[in-house]
Symmetry: C2
Amino acid sequence: MTGLRLSLNQATVKHLTLDQVVGLCQRHEIEAVGLWRDRVAERGLAPAAAAVRAAGLHVSSLCRGGFFTHADAAARAGALADNRAALTEAAELGADALVLVSGGLVPGSRDLGLARRMVADAVAELVPVAQRLGVRLGVEALHPMFCADRCVVSGLGEALDLALQFPAEAVGVVVDTYHVWWDAGLAGQIARARGRIACFQLADWVLPLPADPLLGRGHLGDGHIDLAQITAQVLAAGYRGFAEVEIFRQEIWDAPADETAATVRRRFGELLG
Amino acid sequence: MTGLRLSLNQATVKHLTLDQVVGLCQRHEIEAVGLWRDRVAERGLAPAAAAVRAAGLHVSSLCRGGFFTHADAAARAGALADNRAALTEAAELGADALVLVSGGLVPGSRDLGLARRMVADAVAELVPVAQRLGVRLGVEALHPMFCADRCVVSGLGEALDLALQFPAEAVGVVVDTYHVWWDAGLAGQIARARGRIACFQLADWVLPLPADPLLGRGHLGDGHIDLAQITAQVLAAGYRGFAEVEIFRQEIWDAPADETAATVRRRFGELLG
């Protein structure tokens, strides 16, 4: 018994509306949910927040902010404005964290250092807003296969190097097993993340990778990741939040949502409950 | 002018026989070649070595050894025997290094530590053989997207941690831009690799990734990697060997080999010559 509590990230059942996800969580006795901004916007922020609250659901994360790396100043300013809006939404929803995916290389550039400095500058801009609203930014490291086009923060150590420049209550990191499991230094980085883990996301690494490697995730236990070990390390680092199951996979999206939720819950209990 | 000299890894023109690759290098005034064991075996080891020597070609690497991670002892012993044979071949060919791809997770296991210890044990077994034959082992870090099924050594730092346990003349590392470019700590690891770079391989990272991510490489300059910067770091670390262009890509395999060699040579000259 790890005592870890399950949250369902709504991307796992991405064809459902917000109200449908809320109903799904209630039917399957899942206490928390990770929300996506497009589904919140579709419902309307205030009604969405009210629906979640009325159902007694905790919001373990809002996905997502970030995408800071743009060549022109207007696009960078636009990204910051969008992230300020996302922080407002996260505050209204009572989310534990706003998940940040940094963005890839600046279009037309091969300069990783430039992209990484842009990300740090953007996070610095957002910190006062996050503090004022009482929302925590969660810097997510994505798997290095997404470095060029999606996220130049490629390992938990890098995410932490960034987060540690700011107050702990304003900036933490997201530990997503699909993205970080391969790292020989992972145990050390998780220990170093004590007090900084804003969100813990679970998915398995299933081979072969599909044509779109974003969709290579699978149900817990179907792949190659030692999820129990990583979870034990996260708990040993003092994390007491929810564990969000977030799976992007076509076959799972094609399955009935109640079947998916039942599988998520059963596997979570078997492996980590 | 970097002074760096070009080598053509034969996987870039994988449909050619050894003799055809030798002819191709001669026609395009490429001084060195990276060879693959299957093509050497097809020609016969002694005739292959004679053909390469007669053409005045240097052998910058032999690809490849490794794949040490097996569940049963017989398979592990078989892998070691195969690697001993590969060392003999590398000695006969006068190759600068035998490239080692470690192997992925042990079949049926999610234990990265176990797989990594197996790799270290196997390298330790091979070191005396390598020393006796005067061949250098090159531990290659593969991109983390291959960690589960192909190579549990996922970053240059890890490859170095392993190599540094052994004498420098016996064990070095392979720096392959396709595999390591994303690493925020890369510059520091290359500096730390002084005296240990056994082989330097070049390919670009081209998006979108194909269904088989092994084939996502592209001609130098077609992708997202700052090859000039990484090359400068490798040279600053004292590397004076060849730079091998090694590209696995279906469109390049489908192109006429002379066109490919001309493009390889031109891009290398433009970017790194």
